[in-house]
């Protein structure tokens, strides 16, 4: 049994079916990257998993327990274990860096203040923002904001981390500082689902890569298979196009 089991997942925005039967099994500690053309449903899959665009059909199991996306309790339980980092960081603009990271464990989970602050300090040090606790998001560069967003996502000690194109909005020279942080996290054994267009990074950190097209997963395999010897024609076309330059 996998850590996360996705079976026959369907999701739609209005009349448009974005996900058409997604099946994916992710083991504990795995780093699975989702690749595929724009509009193939990669981001929607992540948003759907964390309940921002609830699935229309299909099941998601976390440690063998099915999640009911229409039940608040079940959703909160899920969000205790799963966190997401967005493309646009989405930090709380009215809170400084430290409060962005501590607000959830402190105010929502009512955890012990001393322990929360200690964890937050460690996390911010780890992502290299240790000297900017009092800064506000609009005073930071994109790369710094994204690293704070990663620290915020980790503050609740999630078991599964979803990363939705976290470097796509960054200046090219800022991309690496964020990728370094993620690379560091992959050594922790936290289960990760990554949507990324940084193919060399995907190749390097992923235990498996899932190729998505038109709302479903067309091929899953280790990076060597997907990038060097894809079995599906669709994967071959996509990989061929992006690796040409």
């Amino acid at each position: 049994m996998g850590h996360l089991e996705i079976r026959n997942l369907h999701c739609s925005y209005g009349a448009d079916d974005i996900l058409k039967s997604v099946d994916l099994s992710v083991d504990r500690g795995e780093v699975v990257s989702l690749i595929g053309p724009s509009g193939s449903g990669k981001s929607t899959l992540l948003r759907s998993l964390i309940g921002l665009t609830p699935p229309r059909m299909g099941t998601v199991e976390l440690d063998g327990e099915e999640i009911n996306y229409r039940n608040r309790q079940s959703l909160r339980h899920l969000r205790d274990k799963m966190a997401i980092v967005f493309q646009q960081y989405n930090l709380f603009q009215n809170m400084n860096v430290f409060r962005n990271v501590t607000v959830a464990p402190l105010k929502i989970k009512k955890r012990d203040k001393g322990a929360v602050e200690k964890t937050a300090t460690e996390l911010l040090d780890r992502v290299g923002i240790g000297d900017k606790h009092q800064a506000y998001p609009d005073e930071l560069s994109g790369g710094q904001q994204q690293r704070v967003a990663i620290a915020r996502a980790l503050a609740l000690a999630p078991e599964i981390l979803l990363l939705d194109e976290v470097t796509s909005a960054l200046d090219p020279e800022r991309v690496n500082e964020v990728l370094d942080v993620i690379r560091d996290l992959t050594r922790d054994g936290i289960t990760m689902l990554i949507v990324s267009h940084e193919m060399s990074f995907v190749k390097e950190v992923s235990t498996r890569v899932a190729m998505m097209d038109a709302g479903s997963v067309v091929e899953v395999g280790p990076p060597e298979q997907i990038f060097d010897a894809p079995k599906e024609q669709r994967t071959r076309d996509f990989v061929g196009k992006i690796l040409r330059h």
């Binding site: 309940g51 969000r79 989405n90 709380f92 603009q93 105010k107 506000y136 996502a153």
Partner: protein, 224 residues
Amino acid sequence: MEYDFQFAKVFTELPYLLGGAWLTIQIAFIAFWGGAFLGIFGAIGKVYGGAIARGAIGAYVVFFTNTPALVQIFFLFYALPEAGIVLNPLTAVLIGMVLNSAAYLTDILRAGIISVRKAEIEAALTIGMRPLQVLSYVMLPHVAKTLFAPLSNFFVWLMLGSSIAALFAVEELTGRAINISTSNLRTIETFVVTASIYILLTIIASLFLSFIGRTVFRVKAKVM
């Protein structure tokens, strides 16, 4: 002009006038916070509510922003007793002003609610916030910051607008000024001093609000 100014007759009444000014501040304060409390729910209902809630709130806002506050208070004070509800003048003024400012604030705050980035709300939900927590930790601070200047102006406007209470014999600043001028008959001097006190009040309020804005909400725009 052969007018003999006698300000001394007004200055002796200064403590009495300042007492009225204190009540003016209190009325504005209650009208503002009462209105803001109702207005935030009105604004949320207008943005996120269903058709019935939106329609009801819309009708409320249209009614209260298209009739004079004075007429509304007249109604509370003179018509409600027919239904067995007798309000003292100050209570009638406060209820009227709260209902009236709630209508204006519903519209003002609605603009602020709409301007909260959807992505920030989503981020808040994914870290486990409940709707009321999203409201208090994410939405309201954003609204207070972006709307700080218009809200400050609205507070000043309420402070001046509270002078209609004088018509119901409430002894706020204008009410007490009328009392003085009818007994000392120095109308011009009395109202020159009264106007000066109002100006002072608005300057103090504006400076105080702009200080709060800059320190608490990091508002960069000047209030005054």
